[in-house]
Protein backbone atom coordinates (compact mmCIF):
# COMPACT_ATOMS: atom_id res chain seq x y z
CA UNK A 1 0.00 0.00 0.00
CA UNK A 2 1.50 3.23 -1.22
CA UNK A 3 0.58 5.70 1.50
CA UNK A 4 1.35 3.42 4.40
CA UNK A 5 4.71 4.79 5.11
CA UNK A 6 4.34 8.43 4.39
CA UNK A 7 6.14 10.15 7.21
CA UNK A 8 4.55 13.43 8.30
CA UNK A 9 5.69 16.06 10.80
CA UNK A 10 3.63 18.99 12.07
CA UNK A 11 5.05 21.96 13.95
CA UNK A 12 2.28 23.98 15.61
CA UNK A 13 2.11 25.68 18.98
CA UNK A 14 -1.66 25.30 19.29
CA UNK A 15 -2.74 22.20 21.13
CA UNK A 16 -6.23 22.10 19.60
CA UNK A 17 -4.81 22.33 16.12
CA UNK A 18 -2.35 19.52 16.78
CA UNK A 19 -5.25 17.45 18.04
CA UNK A 20 -7.41 18.18 14.98
CA UNK A 21 -4.47 17.25 12.81
CA UNK A 22 -3.74 13.88 14.36
CA UNK A 23 -7.42 13.07 14.75
CA UNK A 24 -7.99 13.76 11.07
CA UNK A 25 -5.25 11.35 10.03
CA UNK A 26 -6.55 8.78 12.48
CA UNK A 27 -10.01 9.02 10.97
CA UNK A 28 -8.66 8.91 7.45
CA UNK A 29 -7.33 5.45 8.22
CA UNK A 30 -4.20 6.29 6.36
CA UNK A 31 -1.46 4.57 8.24
CA UNK A 32 0.84 7.51 7.94
CA UNK A 33 3.29 8.22 10.67
CA UNK A 34 2.49 11.63 12.21
CA UNK A 35 4.83 13.37 14.63
CA UNK A 36 4.10 16.79 16.11
CA UNK A 37 6.37 19.45 17.58
CA UNK A 38 5.23 22.30 19.78
CA UNK A 39 7.19 25.00 18.03
CA UNK A 40 9.87 25.79 15.49
CA UNK A 41 12.75 25.40 17.88
CA UNK A 42 11.77 21.86 18.87
CA UNK A 43 11.25 21.02 15.23
CA UNK A 44 14.63 22.30 14.06
CA UNK A 45 16.37 20.62 17.00
CA UNK A 46 14.98 17.33 15.80
CA UNK A 47 15.64 17.87 12.11
CA UNK A 48 19.22 18.95 12.72
CA UNK A 49 20.09 15.67 14.39
CA UNK A 50 22.30 13.69 12.04
CA UNK A 51 20.29 10.47 12.30
CA UNK A 52 16.89 12.15 12.14
CA UNK A 53 14.43 10.38 9.89
CA UNK A 54 13.35 13.12 7.50
CA UNK A 55 9.62 13.47 6.87
CA UNK A 56 8.07 13.21 3.44
CA UNK A 57 5.88 16.17 4.20
CA UNK A 58 6.54 18.85 6.81
CA UNK A 59 3.59 20.95 7.99
CA UNK A 60 4.58 24.38 9.37
CA UNK A 61 2.37 26.75 11.30
CA UNK A 62 3.46 30.31 10.44
CA UNK A 63 2.72 32.00 13.74
CA UNK A 64 4.73 30.23 16.41
CA UNK A 65 6.57 31.61 19.43
CA UNK A 66 10.38 31.49 19.54
CA UNK A 67 10.85 30.44 15.93
CA UNK A 68 8.22 31.19 13.31
CA UNK A 69 7.27 28.94 10.43
CA UNK A 70 8.89 31.39 8.04
CA UNK A 71 12.22 31.15 9.88
CA UNK A 72 12.02 27.34 9.81
CA UNK A 73 11.26 27.46 6.11
CA UNK A 74 14.29 29.63 5.49
CA UNK A 75 16.61 27.36 7.47
CA UNK A 76 15.30 24.24 5.77
CA UNK A 77 15.68 25.72 2.30
CA UNK A 78 19.24 26.72 3.05
CA UNK A 79 20.22 23.16 3.92
CA UNK A 80 20.50 20.77 0.98
CA UNK A 81 20.00 17.83 3.33
CA UNK A 82 16.31 18.72 3.36
CA UNK A 83 15.87 19.22 -0.36
CA UNK A 84 13.53 16.26 -0.74
CA UNK A 85 11.18 17.34 2.05
CA UNK A 86 7.89 18.69 0.79
CA UNK A 87 6.92 21.73 2.85
CA UNK A 88 3.33 22.56 3.62
CA UNK A 89 2.44 25.83 5.32
CA UNK A 90 -0.42 25.32 7.71
CA UNK A 91 -1.75 28.66 8.86
CA UNK A 92 -4.78 30.62 10.02
CA UNK A 93 -4.05 33.68 7.93
CA UNK A 94 -4.61 33.72 4.23
CA UNK A 95 -3.46 37.06 2.95
CA UNK A 96 -2.50 36.80 -0.69
CA UNK A 97 0.85 38.36 0.05
CA UNK A 98 1.66 35.85 2.80
CA UNK A 99 0.76 33.00 0.51
CA UNK A 100 2.80 34.18 -2.45
CA UNK A 101 5.69 35.00 -0.22
CA UNK A 102 5.89 31.53 1.32
CA UNK A 103 5.68 29.95 -2.13
CA UNK A 104 8.46 32.19 -3.34
CA UNK A 105 10.56 31.25 -0.32
CA UNK A 106 10.20 27.62 -1.29
CA UNK A 107 7.03 26.23 0.26
CA UNK A 108 5.19 23.65 -1.89
CA UNK A 109 1.83 23.66 -0.22
CA UNK A 110 -0.19 26.37 1.49
CA UNK A 111 -3.10 25.28 3.63
CA UNK A 112 -5.42 27.72 5.27
CA UNK A 113 -6.58 25.91 8.36
CA UNK A 114 -10.18 24.95 7.58
CA UNK A 115 -12.99 25.67 9.95
CA UNK A 116 -14.69 22.38 9.28
CA UNK A 117 -13.27 19.05 10.38
CA UNK A 118 -14.59 17.24 7.34
CA UNK A 119 -12.86 19.77 5.12
CA UNK A 120 -9.65 19.31 7.11
CA UNK A 121 -9.75 15.57 6.50
CA UNK A 122 -10.32 16.14 2.80
CA UNK A 123 -7.52 18.64 2.57
CA UNK A 124 -5.00 16.43 4.36
CA UNK A 125 -5.96 13.44 2.27
CA UNK A 126 -5.56 15.57 -0.84
CA UNK A 127 -2.11 16.66 0.25
CA UNK A 128 -0.92 13.13 0.87
CA UNK A 129 -2.29 11.79 -2.40
CA UNK A 130 -0.99 14.65 -4.48
CA UNK A 131 2.39 14.23 -2.86
CA UNK A 132 2.24 10.56 -3.70
CA UNK A 133 1.40 11.35 -7.30
CA UNK A 134 4.42 13.60 -7.51
CA UNK A 135 6.49 10.95 -5.88
CA UNK A 136 5.52 8.03 -8.07
CA UNK A 137 4.83 9.64 -11.42
CA UNK A 138 8.09 11.46 -11.93
CA UNK A 139 6.54 14.93 -11.84
CA UNK A 140 8.82 17.93 -11.51
CA UNK A 141 8.94 18.74 -7.81
CA UNK A 142 10.22 22.24 -8.53
CA UNK A 143 6.80 23.02 -9.92
CA UNK A 144 4.92 21.47 -7.05
CA UNK A 145 2.65 24.23 -5.78
CA UNK A 146 -0.63 23.48 -4.10
CA UNK A 147 -2.96 25.82 -2.30
CA UNK A 148 -5.85 24.49 -0.27
Amino acid sequence: MATDYTHIILADDDEDDRMFFTDAFDELKMTVKVTTYNDGVYLMDYLNQEDAILPNILFLDLNMPRKSGMECLKEIKENSRFKDVVIAIYSTSASEEDIENTFIKGANIYIKKPSDFKVLKKVLSNVVTTNWQYHTNGLNKDNFLLRL
Binding site: T3, Y5, G106, T129, H135, N137, G138, L139, L145, R147
Partner: protein, 184 residues
Protein backbone atom coordinates in the same frame (compact mmCIF):
# COMPACT_ATOMS: atom_id res chain seq x y z
CA UNK B 1 32.41 -24.23 17.74
CA UNK B 2 29.14 -22.71 17.01
CA UNK B 3 28.17 -19.16 16.32
CA UNK B 4 24.73 -17.89 16.88
CA UNK B 5 23.77 -15.30 14.35
CA UNK B 6 20.85 -12.96 14.68
CA UNK B 7 19.92 -11.10 11.54
CA UNK B 8 17.27 -8.87 10.32
CA UNK B 9 15.79 -10.20 7.13
CA UNK B 10 14.62 -6.79 6.03
CA UNK B 11 18.00 -5.13 6.47
CA UNK B 12 19.75 -7.85 4.51
CA UNK B 13 17.35 -7.71 1.60
CA UNK B 14 17.37 -3.91 1.52
CA UNK B 15 21.18 -3.86 1.53
CA UNK B 16 21.34 -6.27 -1.39
CA UNK B 17 18.73 -4.34 -3.34
CA UNK B 18 20.53 -1.09 -2.67
CA UNK B 19 23.86 -2.48 -3.90
CA UNK B 20 22.43 -3.90 -7.10
CA UNK B 21 20.33 -0.86 -7.88
CA UNK B 22 23.24 1.49 -7.31
CA UNK B 23 25.37 -0.64 -9.62
CA UNK B 24 22.82 -0.10 -12.38
CA UNK B 25 22.69 3.63 -11.72
CA UNK B 26 18.96 3.80 -11.29
CA UNK B 27 16.89 6.35 -9.37
CA UNK B 28 14.75 4.49 -6.93
CA UNK B 29 13.28 4.33 -3.48
CA UNK B 30 13.07 1.18 -1.38
CA UNK B 31 9.77 0.88 0.40
CA UNK B 32 9.27 -1.68 3.10
CA UNK B 33 7.58 -5.01 2.46
CA UNK B 34 9.36 -5.74 -0.76
CA UNK B 35 8.52 -2.79 -2.91
CA UNK B 36 10.86 -0.72 -4.99
CA UNK B 37 9.61 2.46 -6.53
CA UNK B 38 11.46 3.79 -9.53
CA UNK B 39 11.61 7.53 -9.91
CA UNK B 40 12.13 7.28 -13.63
CA UNK B 41 11.37 4.86 -16.37
CA UNK B 42 13.54 1.75 -16.32
CA UNK B 43 14.80 0.66 -19.76
CA UNK B 44 14.13 -2.96 -20.70
CA UNK B 45 17.79 -4.02 -20.74
CA UNK B 46 18.38 -2.69 -17.25
CA UNK B 47 15.25 -4.46 -16.08
CA UNK B 48 16.68 -7.75 -17.37
CA UNK B 49 20.10 -7.12 -15.85
CA UNK B 50 18.50 -6.34 -12.52
CA UNK B 51 16.47 -9.58 -12.65
CA UNK B 52 19.64 -11.58 -13.37
CA UNK B 53 21.66 -9.83 -10.70
CA UNK B 54 19.12 -10.69 -8.03
CA UNK B 55 18.87 -14.41 -8.95
CA UNK B 56 21.95 -15.60 -6.91
CA UNK B 57 20.37 -14.11 -3.76
CA UNK B 58 17.16 -15.96 -4.32
CA UNK B 59 15.36 -12.71 -4.84
CA UNK B 60 12.77 -12.74 -7.57
CA UNK B 61 10.91 -9.84 -9.11
CA UNK B 62 7.21 -10.33 -8.77
CA UNK B 63 5.77 -8.82 -11.86
CA UNK B 64 2.08 -9.04 -11.66
CA UNK B 65 0.02 -8.54 -14.68
CA UNK B 66 -2.03 -5.74 -13.11
CA UNK B 67 0.81 -3.37 -12.28
CA UNK B 68 2.30 -3.86 -15.72
CA UNK B 69 -0.97 -2.93 -17.29
CA UNK B 70 -1.32 0.16 -15.08
CA UNK B 71 2.19 1.21 -16.02
CA UNK B 72 1.24 0.82 -19.65
CA UNK B 73 -1.84 2.96 -19.06
CA UNK B 74 0.27 5.65 -17.46
CA UNK B 75 2.72 5.60 -20.35
CA UNK B 76 -0.10 5.80 -22.85
CA UNK B 77 -1.74 8.71 -21.06
CA UNK B 78 1.52 10.65 -20.77
CA UNK B 79 2.21 10.02 -24.43
CA UNK B 80 -1.30 11.18 -25.26
CA UNK B 81 -0.98 14.40 -23.28
CA UNK B 82 2.47 15.34 -24.47
CA UNK B 83 1.75 14.60 -28.11
CA UNK B 84 -1.74 15.98 -28.01
CA UNK B 85 -1.47 17.59 -31.43
CA UNK B 86 -1.36 14.19 -33.16
CA UNK B 87 -4.36 12.69 -31.40
CA UNK B 88 -6.77 15.51 -31.55
CA UNK B 89 -10.20 14.06 -31.98
CA UNK B 90 -10.18 10.79 -30.08
CA UNK B 91 -11.61 10.62 -26.58
CA UNK B 92 -9.10 9.40 -24.02
CA UNK B 93 -11.30 6.51 -22.85
CA UNK B 94 -11.72 5.22 -26.40
CA UNK B 95 -8.04 5.71 -27.10
CA UNK B 96 -6.97 3.77 -24.00
CA UNK B 97 -9.24 0.77 -24.52
CA UNK B 98 -8.31 0.56 -28.21
CA UNK B 99 -4.63 0.80 -27.53
CA UNK B 100 -4.54 -1.69 -24.64
CA UNK B 101 -7.25 -4.09 -25.80
CA UNK B 102 -9.39 -3.96 -22.65
CA UNK B 103 -12.72 -2.34 -21.89
CA UNK B 104 -12.46 1.12 -20.40
CA UNK B 105 -14.50 0.03 -17.38
CA UNK B 106 -12.00 -2.68 -16.59
CA UNK B 107 -9.00 -0.41 -17.09
CA UNK B 108 -10.52 2.37 -15.03
CA UNK B 109 -11.27 0.09 -12.06
CA UNK B 110 -7.85 -1.48 -12.24
CA UNK B 111 -6.16 1.92 -12.33
CA UNK B 112 -7.99 3.19 -9.26
CA UNK B 113 -7.28 -0.02 -7.40
CA UNK B 114 -3.53 0.16 -7.96
CA UNK B 115 -2.87 3.93 -7.88
CA UNK B 116 -5.58 5.20 -5.52
CA UNK B 117 -6.56 7.77 -8.07
CA UNK B 118 -8.88 7.82 -11.07
CA UNK B 119 -7.78 7.76 -14.69
CA UNK B 120 -9.47 11.15 -15.17
CA UNK B 121 -7.54 12.66 -12.28
CA UNK B 122 -4.33 11.24 -13.58
CA UNK B 123 -4.97 12.75 -17.01
CA UNK B 124 -5.73 16.14 -15.49
CA UNK B 125 -2.63 15.93 -13.32
CA UNK B 126 -0.51 15.22 -16.37
CA UNK B 127 -2.12 17.99 -18.38
CA UNK B 128 -1.55 20.51 -15.62
CA UNK B 129 2.02 19.30 -15.28
CA UNK B 130 2.50 19.87 -18.98
CA UNK B 131 0.82 23.28 -18.72
CA UNK B 132 3.23 24.26 -15.96
CA UNK B 133 6.13 23.22 -18.08
CA UNK B 134 4.88 25.21 -21.07
CA UNK B 135 4.23 28.29 -18.94
CA UNK B 136 7.68 28.25 -17.43
CA UNK B 137 9.94 26.90 -20.12
CA UNK B 138 8.33 28.06 -23.32
CA UNK B 139 6.72 31.21 -22.00
CA UNK B 140 3.51 30.39 -23.83
CA UNK B 141 0.31 32.29 -23.23
CA UNK B 142 -2.56 30.45 -21.61
CA UNK B 143 -4.62 30.83 -24.77
CA UNK B 144 -1.97 29.01 -26.81
CA UNK B 145 -1.67 26.27 -24.18
CA UNK B 146 -5.43 25.80 -23.96
CA UNK B 147 -5.53 25.35 -27.73
CA UNK B 148 -2.57 22.95 -27.74
CA UNK B 149 -4.06 20.77 -24.99
CA UNK B 150 -7.52 20.70 -26.57
CA UNK B 151 -9.32 22.69 -23.91
CA UNK B 152 -12.62 24.19 -25.00
CA UNK B 153 -11.64 27.59 -23.57
CA UNK B 154 -9.00 29.43 -21.60
CA UNK B 155 -11.44 29.70 -18.72
CA UNK B 156 -11.77 25.93 -18.71
CA UNK B 157 -8.02 25.44 -18.48
CA UNK B 158 -7.79 28.20 -15.84
CA UNK B 159 -10.47 26.54 -13.77
CA UNK B 160 -8.87 23.15 -14.02
CA UNK B 161 -5.47 24.57 -13.16
CA UNK B 162 -6.88 26.36 -10.15
CA UNK B 163 -8.87 23.37 -9.01
CA UNK B 164 -5.81 21.17 -9.20
CA UNK B 165 -3.19 23.47 -7.72
CA UNK B 166 -5.26 26.00 -5.81
CA UNK B 167 -3.62 28.89 -7.60
CA UNK B 168 -4.19 30.61 -10.92
CA UNK B 169 -1.80 30.03 -13.83
CA UNK B 170 -0.59 33.63 -13.69
CA UNK B 171 0.09 33.42 -9.94
CA UNK B 172 1.98 30.21 -10.63
CA UNK B 173 4.05 31.89 -13.30
CA UNK B 174 4.74 34.87 -11.04
CA UNK B 175 5.79 32.69 -8.12
CA UNK B 176 8.18 30.57 -10.14
CA UNK B 177 9.71 33.66 -11.76
CA UNK B 178 10.26 35.33 -8.41
CA UNK B 179 11.64 32.15 -6.92
CA UNK B 180 14.22 31.98 -9.67
CA UNK B 181 15.04 35.65 -9.11
CA UNK B 182 15.63 34.96 -5.42
CA UNK B 183 17.79 31.95 -6.07
CA UNK B 184 20.04 33.86 -8.40
Amino acid sequence: MKLFIKFDFNTVCNTVLKEQLDALDLKYEILNFGEVAFLEKVPDHKHDEFTKALEPYGIEIVEDHKSILVQKMKDTIIDMVYNSDTEVHVKSSVYLSEKLGHSYGYLSNLFSEVTYTSVENFIILQKIEYTKRLIINENKSLTEIAFQLNYSSVAHLSTQFKNTTGITPSAFQRIIAKRREENN
